[in-house]
Amino acid sequence: MNPTTNISQPLESTAGVQPLAGEMSLRIQPGAGTASTSSPSAEGAANSRAGSAFEVVPPVPVPLPTHKDVFDSKPIQIWEGVVLSVDRNGMDVRLNAKLARLPEHTATIALEWIHDQDRDLARPGAIFYLTVFRKLSRGSVQNAQEIRFRRLPNWSNSDVLKVRAAASALAARMKDTDDAARP
């Protein structure tokens, strides 16, 4: 049954794609007009149309995963951190709160809190996110926190070209007039 026409079972949304009820096989729908960038599950089916300039295309359903590991959560605070120094006792960090105006703080975090896969990312200057959140899973509420290091790709060739261009612009701007003057 199409959930959008069933008011007794309102649409619900998770963070992932959900199939239309009853649909278990992959099915491609032809696109029509401008598709929607909202989370596909909340968009529902193709029945909602917001006008000719904003025609929506339903998401392509895929088999629903078990989602047994997905849990709902509510962030309490997210600290964006910068690693200042690292030694065997831990890493010294500077923390800035993202979800409220709180003063900048420093702290020390033991290395055991860092995932093995992130250990090589823990170096001075690295950015990480320390999320303090409430985890809701199977009816229970737990306090939890996690550290996730920022992962950005390597500087690309186009980035390198941009750096060179910005450096050239800087050099052109800096017209030294008194350089190495010795009295």
Binding site: H105, T108, L152, D159, L170, A171, K175, A181
Partner: protein, 364 residues
């Protein structure tokens, strides 16, 4: 918004003053050279404030913008340049001085890479310095023996003691691995702190009978303080009666010969702290050493380490973190002022500033 400090009156034309600002993480100086001529060194902001501390100071004293003759960025570290680009815009008549290391193309590429222009989220000290340099038609590279400013009525000359030529080349060697290149597999990230600090500009302000020695963050190293003290030209300058203590009082920023070769006996000491997690400066041993080398010393902010986080959030953070402390322990300023004919400096403390003492900071 923090409550503004009341800085009282502006200096008279025949008064010299040096004021150091510090929020716990950050340092800036405002120097009145007499005759309504001002020099600003570095930049910091009080917690919650958007205006740089020295700009707020000058605004309160009703100092016209055109009276600021020089702005010096002693080095590129975040705690010394916060708000610098705004200062530079606010005082367009002031010449902007920067460490000569950044005259080099590789160093310029380093600044550009980490300026935030290419990756918006990368912006710390390097971004402020980059924007400051880009906003100026005229900026001057500074290294040892370069004259910053001079004037008469009253007479003064400001020179740089550093960075040395050896420091320039060592700095470039250090930053090379962090400059993006096609053949380098380098993850995008913030510019890491480069240690030791060799690019720092130490300033000598010659006032005739005595001098001010503004030590920035220069560290003891063959290309740092060792080279400055070994330079006969530097040793030949007027001795300092006021020393802005280098590198927040750390042992790495100290050199015994500063006190025997560059300063008068037992000068006045000015210092800003540095709160950096476990590594806070000055440590107790540093305080003892500073007090043994000065007749008295003053620090811009206190030592309060109590976190300023709501209790429930703090408890959660403590599950993972130790030594949680505010980066800024209270904003303060220390002003040393005297007339050109006087010998003694008058000290005034503002905000969280205190006299430095062995038993923990206490009010003067």
């Amino acid at each position: 918004m923090p409550r503004a400090l009341d800085y009282g009156r502006a200096p008279y034309a025949d008064e010299i003053e040096v004021t150091i600002f510090g929020p716990g993480y950050g340092e800036a100086l405002a120097v009145h050279l007499g005759g309504q001529r001002w020099m600003l060194v570095d930049s910091c902001t009080a917690t919650g404030a958007s205006e740089p501390a020295s700009a707020e100071y000058l605004r309160q004293l009703n100092i016209p913008a055109e009276n600021v003759k020089a702005i010096v960025a002693s080095h590129w570290h975040d705690d010394h340049v916060r708000g610098m680009s705004r200062l530079v815009r606010q005082y367009p008549n002031a010449t902007f001085f920067y460490p000569a290391v950044f005259s080099n193309k590789e160093a310029q590429a380093f600044l550009a890479a980490y300026s935030g222009e290419i990756n918006p989220q990368l912006t710390r000290g390097t971004g402020e310095l980059y924007r400051s340099l880009m906003s100026r038609e005229r900026s001057v590279a500074v290294k040892n023996r370069v004259e910053i400013l001079s004037g008469t009525s009253p007479e003064f000359r400001v020179f740089a003691f550093s960075p040395t030529d050896a420091a320039l080349s060592q700095f470039l060697a250090h930053i090379f691995e962090y400059i993006p290149r096609e053949d380098l597999s380098l993850p995008i990230g913030h510019a890491p702190p480069i240690s030791p600090n060799l690019s720092s500009v130490v300033l000598h302000v010659d006032l005739g009978a005595e001098a001010l020695l503004l030590g920035a963050d220069l560290e003891r190293h063959e290309a740092g303080w060792d080279a400055v003290i070994a330079d006969e030209w530097c040793r030949g300058k007027v001795r300092a009666g006021v020393v802005k203590i280098a590198h927040h009082g750390s042992i790495t920023g100290d050199h015994p010969d500063i006190w025997t070769q560059l300063a008068m006996q037992k000068p006045l000491g000015l210092i800003s702290p540095f709160n950096n997690g476990r590594h806070t400066l000055p440590k107790a041993a540093d305080v003892m050493r500073i007090l043994s080398n000065t007749r008295e010393a003053f620090i811009t902010s206190g030592s309060s380490r109590k976190p300023k986080i709501p209790t429930d959030q703090l408890k959660r953070l403590q599950d993972m973190c130790t030594a949680i402390a505010p980066a800024n322990a209270g904003f303060g300023a220390v002003r040393a002022r005297r007339s050109t004919t006087a010998v003694e400096w008058q000290i005034e403390l503002f905000g969280s500033a205190k006299r430095l003492s062995n038993s923990g900071s206490k009010a003067a």
